[in-house]
């Protein structure tokens, strides 16, 4: 781990979400807000259509970091700001891209900065995971 440098890209990954992904997350998390599975309700509150749960995007975005860490460390702190919604088309779904970069290094820990985009726009702000490194 000592060969890490600030700015290193440790992972880059794409995730494809479909409406089933959202229904599965609703069940697993207990968040049954219908704007995440019904277009009519989403539109009635002024949204263009069904959106992914912000917490689903947050949950997926840290996975490349978890995979990179394997058994060498754990996530000590993870934060995001929800800046733009991820609109999930009923037929085509939505593809979210995650780029994970080393943002800071300290003794036995690192801050990993995540850039999370959908349709070339950032959907999470200040997305940072602080991890311990064995």
């Amino acid at each position: 781990m000592s060969d890490l440098t600030i700015g290193d890209v440790i992972a880059e990954k794409q995730y494809h979400l479909t409406r089933d992904t959202l229904v599965r997350y609703a069940g697993a998390s207990g968040d049954f807000n219908p704007i995440h599975y019904r277009d009519d309700i989403a539109q009635s509150v002024g949204l263009p259509g069904v959106l992914a749960h912000g917490m689903l995007t947050m949950g997926i975005a840290v996975q490349p970091v978890v995979d990179w860490l394997e058994n060498r460390g754990t996530v000590l702190d993870y934060q995001v700001r929800f800046t733009r919604p991820v609109l999930v088309d009923p037929t085509d779904g939505a593809t979210v891209t995650v780029v994970a970069k080393v943002g800071a290094l300290e003794n036995g820990a690192a801050r990993i900065d995540l850039t999370v985009t959908f349709n070339d726009e950032t959907v999470l702000g200040k997305a940072q995971a602080r991890v311990s490194l064995a």
């Binding site: 995730y15 992904t21 599965r24 997350y25 069940g27 697993a28 998390s29 207990g30 968040d31 509150v45 912000g54 917490m55 689903l56 947050m58 949950g59 997926i60 840290v62 996975q63 978890v66 995979d67 394997e70 058994n71 754990t74 996530v75 000590l76 702190d77 993870y78 934060q79 995001v80 700001r81 929800f82 200040k126 995971a129």
Partner: protein, 148 residues
């Protein structure tokens, strides 16, 4: 109705203990597209020194749900659920959650701010294990939109 500023500093009673089941962790892990063996395979988790499979980093949201329900149900809170947008979220860990943990969450409203007609409510859920030791704190900022 605006959010009641007197909510700031209010601490709620602890939630009923939540027993983290192995299949619940697997279900949640599948839902966030987590593929790490530590999230699915007890043998892999055990080899890494854990007593059972490890929950993904955002799993505390399942436990936090009960505390946010307390907040929205508070009669004098003035929080209209249909106007709530999730602003930001943070998890600060002492140790990872593993299957078998019995977790209790205590909610505190740490800040209420007004910003351009909207209210920003920061809700902090401190989650401890059966022995009372800190596991993780889940911090949510909810944006409550004002009347348009």
């Amino acid at each position: 109705m605006p959010v009641n500023p007197e909510l700031q500093g209010r601490v709620f009673p602890p939630t009923a203990p939540y027993l983290v089941g192995r299949e619940k962790v697997r279900e949640f892990a599948r839902a966030v597209l987590a593929t790490s063996p530590l999230n699915h395979d007890p043998a892999a988790a055990s080899a890494a020194g854990y007593s059972d499979i490890v929950a993904p980093p955002t799993f505390p949201v399942v436990v936090q749900e009960a505390t946010l329900a307390q907040l929205l149900a508070e009669p004098d809170a003035g929080i209209d659920f249909t106007r709530v947008v999730h602003g930001d979220q943070r998890f600060t860990y002492t140790r990872p959650i593993v299957a078998g943990d019995e977790l209790t969450a205590t909610l505190a409203v740490t800040s209420i701010k007004s910003l351009g007609g909207h209210s920003m409510v920061t809700a902090e859920s401190t989650i401890v294990d059966a022995g009372g030791a800190h596991v993780v704190t889940a911090i949510s900022t909810l944006v409550v939109r004002g009347d348009e």
